[in-house]
């Protein structure tokens, strides 16, 4: 803490109200301003929004993700490789989990699947969702994660050895994705992908803001 007090004021920098968040939160939400507030980053704000479910479901819980949009800039002279990569469907925004999860591997696939969604197929919800899981991961290292996610995707079509690539993030925002709690487990509300019930057991009693 470099001698500074570890206690920081917690308020929305735009409207001054108390932002919402559970006991483990490092990212807080201001529903009126639709902002995510990160006290550890000098109360830096990110646009926050909830996504409307694309499929019907039962009991709903919203899980926060960092949504990163940007573009990959490549330097590659090999025409065959470039042609192979051009044939791939371009990836959209990346969704990286901001909530606490104990097996992150489940989400590598989810990040890619969300990235492959048609542009404009995700709609923002009008109301403010409840309950929302605590955001415990800060928006750190997202650019590198996005770069590697892109490279892993390109590697399916052609080898990426020696490829010079950098990801330039244009926008980072805080997206609340609906999940449904079902008998057998959880189901995401965008694609209907099922997850083991225990995966989100830490959210069995989701912290209500």
């Amino acid at each position: 803490m470099n001698g500074r007090s570890p206690l920081l004021p917690l308020s929305c920098p735009r409207c001054g109200s108390d932002p919402l968040g559970g006991g483990a939160s490092r990212v807080f939400l201001c529903p009126s301003c639709r902002l995510a507030v990160v006290p550890e980053e000098g109360s830096r704000t990110y646009p926050a929004f909830a996504l409307r479910p694309r499929i019907p479901g039962g009991r709903r819980t919203y899980l926060p993700f960092w949504r990163v949009t940007g573009q990959l800039i490549l330097r590659e002279d090999h025409p065959d490789k470039l042609a192979a990569w051009r044939r791939l469907k371009p990836l959209g925004a990346f969704f990286f989990p901001a909530f606490l999860l104990l097996r992150m591997g489940y989400y590598d696939d989810l990040t890619l699947r969300y990235g492959l969604l048609e542009e404009g197929s995700l709609e923002e919800d009008d109301g403010w969702p409840v309950p929302v899981a605590d955001g415990v991961r800060l928006a750190r290292g997202l650019q590198e994660q996005a770069r590697l996610s892109w490279l892993a995707y390109l590697d399916r079509a052609a080898d990426v050895t020696g490829l010079e690539a950098r990801f330039e993030a244009e926008k980072v925002d805080y997206a609340l994705v609906p999940f449904f709690l079902e008998k057998e487990g959880w189901r995401d509300g965008l694609l209907g992908i099922r997850f083991p019930k225990g995966l989100l057991a830490a959210l069995e009693t989701p912290p209500v803001p």
């Binding site: 308020s11 750190r140 892993a152």
Partner: protein, 391 residues
Amino acid sequence: MALTRTLSCPACAGAVAPPVVSRKIRCPYCGKALYYAGEDFLPRLVLPPAFSEAETRGLLERILRQRLLPPGMADRSRVLDRRRLYLPFYLLTGRRGGVLETGRERVVSDALGGRLARFSPLNRLAAASGDPELVQMAGRVERPRVVVEEDSRVVLGDFRYFYPAASLKEWGFDDGDLREAALARLETARPARLEEMAAHGEVVDPTIPLETILEKGVAGPGGRGGELAILEVQPALLFLPVAVFSLAWGPRLFDVMISELDGKALSGTLPVRRDWPVAAGALFTAAAGFFSGQVLRALWAASSGLTPAQTQVLRPWGLMVLAVTFLLAAGGLDVAWALLRTPFVLRVTGAGPRLDREGPVPPSPLNPLRRLLAAALVEGAAGALAPRSRR
């Protein structure tokens, strides 16, 4: 996690108690919402016990029915106390990624070229010439080749580390005994509510600083140079429930710890049944006595029909046989003594029960004799090995 220092509100400078369960607190004086940004605050999770109280008692009974324990211990021992400990562990989850240059081996076989080459006049000429170099050159054309092509693998995956947050030596087991069960049941983890946990057991405080774990257990973030870099680390504190039983067996007290995640016995000591060592000791003594008697009887029978001259010749041999018999009998008694008097205990470990000695073996009454024999042997040997002076 013992936050003892006082904090002051950035708005009104009032004293604020350090947070225990939530990063978000409120100043008791000005009422402002505050955020605790200290690195020492971790999300706390707990794995719920997988067994009811009756089931845990059943697990203990199963342990007490082991063959090495005194018969009837499961029914006749008294459980004086049963308590639950919540032991703290660090669970570090995160992402690791990078591009690994792996290379790819490919077998290149010019099958058609090889077949055609076999019929080529040049190869036939080489074969006919008998020149080994030419024959080898001709053969090389047909052999498939392994070509290493450059290739990379993009890795973006998660990692999970599990370390004890308090020294487990006090309880006589290590984290390996709980790791497997904890990771297998990780998906049942739920937020730890310390007050609720304290009502059901004793919550052990973490004593090992997280920095030590991060320094020693996880490579520092940002490691590059072809290796996988740690992109993100999220530490959490995970409490695991362990049942501790205190038992009375006769005048003595024993403790047994059982994991409440998978029912595995973790540590403790239990008495060992005495009837087996007693029987073994008695058997050794009887065998030694019987053997000595038989030897003496044989000697007596053999010596009764001998002339005095023959007796004179065989006397040293007879004495030697007697000495050996005596030593064997004494050795048998010694083993019997050790079996009877050694304070054996059954040590319960995560790897299974182990027969162990609780203290030193009491000195045998045959020790003076043993010392005498050892001294005689050593002195005899020393005398035999002493350098002889030159005349």
